[in-house]
Homo-oligomer: 200 residues x 2
């Protein structure tokens, strides 16, 4: 039973990779299931073995991103040897790196969020709230510990931190002279100073 | 000759306001010229007296935003009694306020930029480059004057500043307890600390 299961999962991945490429190049709204089938090199009918609608493909992209950024959040949570400012630094750094390495799926994620159906949109919003709360709590901890300026609203600062992380997909050019590591370090510095860190 | 010209311009404004409302509520890609005509309360045929295509309406929105944010840039440029950090502070504050006061048109501006034809897109990109250069030069001046950390890349910092300004349209809720003034002050503080300002 192992071999067919593994095969099917590999094809699932191929389909998702093809969908990401097609949605990124043509725009999700414009792209068709036929375009994705052409990209995979299978008949449209065969593609419907893996999905029921175009939105299923979009939602798989969201699930993939959530799974991957969840592991970044978990790693920052688990770094209990670090103080809250250092944990936030780690989180921002890894998130920016992830976004720059996956600029196609991140572009679709933020551009086409509103095209998900209401139930799926609610799930995505809950995922994003979890990340928002995580960063807000880290900022509050840092403020309580006297590591950062405690006169500023932690929730709004968290939104600014996400602006710094997310907006990179709109300005970073993969062919730029600046490496992803350089950009991640700069964003980390910007966000940490931005929240009024006295450490970095 | 004055009166008909004034009338036509008032109707132009009405059409644009209606288009902004419709594009914001339905999404530009989904909205039709018929929807805009219904919103104005005129026949679709009459609307074609003011525009040739739906994209003309979209582009008018871009022209309107450019005209308005240009005056913010000019005001910050003209404030020669202020040092570069203070001029940047003024610019960030006024830009955030503008975005929050005009959240519908700003949402369309950033979401649907890619749907403009190539010539119009090039004009928009040139406008945005002018703002980017303005902020980059202010940061370079601040660095040379020893007012901010001069070890960081000014152009990348400018992109982070724009992330702080622009991302507000994705998180600010007009019904929130925080006033636009409070948000503008927080973003100003975040951006100025972010670039490594030693002043604020």
């Amino acid at each position: 039973m192992n071999s067919p299961a593994r095969k099917s999962s590999k094809r699932d991945e191929e389909v998702l990779e093809a969908a990401i490429k097609v949605f990124y190049e043509r725009g999700y709204a414009e792209a068709t299931v036929q375009d994705v089938a052409n990209e995979v090199g299978i008949l449209k009918g065969s593609l419907y073995h893996y999905i029921s609608t175009k939105e299923d493909l979009l939602y798989r992209l969201f699930e993939l991103v959530h799974e991957q950024v969840e592991s970044i959040k978990l790693a920052a949570e688990a770094a209990t040897d670090l103080n809250p400012v250092e944990r936030l630094e780690l989180y921002v750094h890894k998130q920016v790196q992830y976004n720059l390495e996956n600029i196609e799926r991140i572009s679709i994620y933020y551009h086409d969020l509103g095209l998900l159906g209401p139930e799926r949109l609610a799930i995505v919003q809950a995922e994003r709230r979890a990340h928002n709360s995580f960063v807000t709590e880290l900022i509050k901890e840092a403020q309580s510990a006297g590591l950062t300026d405690n006169t500023l609203d932690a929730r709004m600062l968290a939104n600014c931190v996400f602006g710094t992380i997310i907006w990179t997909y709109r300005w970073y050019r993969p062919d730029s002279r600046a490496s992803r590591e350089t950009v991640a370090r700069l964003c980390e510095s910007f966000a940490l100073h931005g929240i009024g860190s006295r450490d970095t």
